[in-house]
Symmetry: C2
Subunit: 236 residues, 2 copies
DNA sequence: TAGGCCATGTGGTCCGACCACATCAACTAG
DNA sequence: CTAGTTGATGTGGTCGGACCACATGGCCTA
C-alpha cells in the first residue's frame, strides 16, 4: 500500500462514518502527517487527488477561507476525468453527445411539472430573449438552462454526469459555434425550441419533452458539423 | 496558476496533440521537472492526479514496466470519484441504481443483435450456470455479464459510466447480498432473467430487453432491501 | 483611539537525500 | 566458453527540512 493511498483511505473512512462532513475541515497537513506517521509529501499528494475529485478545497492563510475544507462538487471531478480521456482520444465526442441526449431526454421525461428548477429555467429563457446578447453570453445561459432541466429530474448522479459532459466538450462546442452559417438564425431557433421544451415539461408531457430535447441537441450538433475532423486540433 | 496545474496542462496538451498516446511514456519525473522549470514535487502531484484519473500508470524499476506510461481507464477514474462523493452522502445510492437502470436499459435497446460482446455475455452465462459456484464468484460473473451488455451498445462513454457505477456501489452491493432471504432462489431467478435478456437482445427486441433489464435490476435491489439504512455503517 | 506592525498558522513550492526495485552489463568461478 | 554473481544505472517512492505567500489577529505605538 503506497502511503498516499493510506491517507486517502483514512480520509474516506472519516467521510463515510460521518466524522467528516461537507463544510468540515481536515487537520493541517503537518498535523495529519504526524498523526498518520507519514511525510507531509504523502499527505499533500492525497489532498491533491481529493481536490481534483472535487471533494476538498485547499485555501491558504488563516480565517474562514483557510485550511482544507470538505466540499462536494461531483461535476468537477467527473468533468476533468472525462476531458482527459477525450484528450487521449479514447472517448469520441459523438459518444458524449449521444450520452447527453440519453440523459437529458430521460431527465425532462421524469421531471415533475412543478419542480422548482423549472422556475430557474424560465428565468434563464427570459435572459436569453435579449437581442443584444453576445454569443458567449447566450451560450453560457444555454448551458445553465439545460443543466436546470437536468436537475429538475431530482437525480444527483444524472445531474453530476450532465455537468461533466457539458464541461468535457465545452471547448469543442465553442469551436462548433464558429462553424455555424448564420448564428442569429440558429439562436432564434434555439429560443423557440427551448420554450417548446419547457412548455412540454410544464404540461407534464414527458414523452414530447424527451423527443424535443433529443431533436434540439442533435440538430444543433448536426448543423455545426459534428464528426468532421473532431480529432484535429486547428482548423485550416 | 499553481505549478502542478501547469504540469497537468503540459501533459494534457501533449495528449490532445497526439504527441503522447496510449502506451507512450512520459519523461522521467526529474527530467520533466527540469524541462518545465518546476520542482519534482509539483511534477509528482500532477502525475498522482493523472494516475487517480486512470490516465497514466507509474511503475518503478527499469525495463518495460518502468516509468510513467499512458493508459486509458476511464472507469477507474469516474468510479473512485463517484465512490468518494457517495461517501460524503451527497450522491444517494438510490440515484446510482436509478441511473444504472437508465443507462443499461438504453444500452440493451440499442445493442445490435450480432454485436461481438454478446458472445462474451453468453460465455459468462455458461459459467454462471454451475451450481457449485460461490456467491462472490457468481457476483463477479454477474458484473462482467452486465458490463458486456453495456459494451454491446458501442458507446464508450456509457460503458465507462456503467463501469463507474458498478464500482462505486460494489461494496454496498456485497452487503446487500447478505440481506437476501434465500440466495439460491435469487440466483436461480437471476439466471433465468439473464437468459431472457440476452435472448431479447439477440432477437432484436430492444424494447423488451430494456423492460427486462429494468425489472431485473430494480427487482434485485428491492428484494435486498434498498433504501433501508444505506447511510448507516454497520448492521444491528 | 486609530493606525501600523509583527507573531502565528495555513497551504505552496522547492531542494537534497535516501530507499526499493528492476534491468543490464561486466566480471568471475567453474 | 558457459553460467552464475555482482555491481552500475535509472526509475518511481518516501522523507525531512527549509523558505515563501498569504491572511488573520493581537500588540504596540503615535
Amino acid at each position: 500500500m503506497r502511503t498516499h493511498q493510506l491517507v486517502l483511505h483514512w480520509i474516506e473512512s472519516r467521510l463515510s462514518e460521518g466524522q467528516l462532513t461537507v463544510g468540515g475541515r481536515l487537520p493541517a497537513e503537518r498535523t495529519l502527517a504526524e498523526q498518520l506517521r507519514v511525510s507531509r509529501t504523502s499527505v499533500r499528494e492525497a489532498i491533491r487527488i481529493l481536490e481534483a475529485m472535487g471533494v476538498v478545497r485547499a485555501g491558504v492563510g488563516s480565517g474562514p477561507e483557510a485550511g482544507t475544507v470538505v466540499i462536494s462538487d461531483p461535476t468537477a471531478a467527473l468533468g476533468s476525468a472525462l476531458r482527459l480521456h477525450v484528450a487521449t482520444q479514447h472517448l469520441p465526442v459523438a459518444d458524449i453527445v449521444e450520452t447527453r441526449v440519453l440523459l437529458e431526454s430521460w431527465a425532462v421525461a421524469k421531471a415533475s411539472p412543478d419542480a422548482p428548477e423549472l422556475e430557474e429555467a424560465a428565468t434563464l429563457l427570459d435572459g436569453m430573449a435579449r437581442q443584444d446578447l453576445g454569443v458567449s453570453d447566450f451560450l453560457a445561459l444555454d448551458v445553465r438552462f439545460h443543466l436546470a432541466l437536468a436537475d429538475a429530474a431530482g437525480n444527483a448522479v444524472v445531474s453530476a454526469m450532465m455537468g461533466s459532459l457539458r464541461e468535457s466538450i465545452q471547448g469543442y462546442a465553442a469551436q462548433l459555434t464558429a462553424n455555424l452559417p448564420d448564428w442569429e438564425a440558429t439562436a432564434s431557433r434555439l429560443r423557440v425550441e427551448h420554450h417548446e421544451i419547457l412548455a412540454a415539461v410544464r404540461n407534464d408531457d414527458g414523452a414530447r419533452a424527451a423527443k424535443l430535447v433529443a431533436a434540439h441537441i442533435e440538430g444543433y450538433y448536426k448543423e455545426a458539423g459534428l464528426g468532421s475532423g473532431h480529432t484535429e486540433q486547428g482548423r485550416p
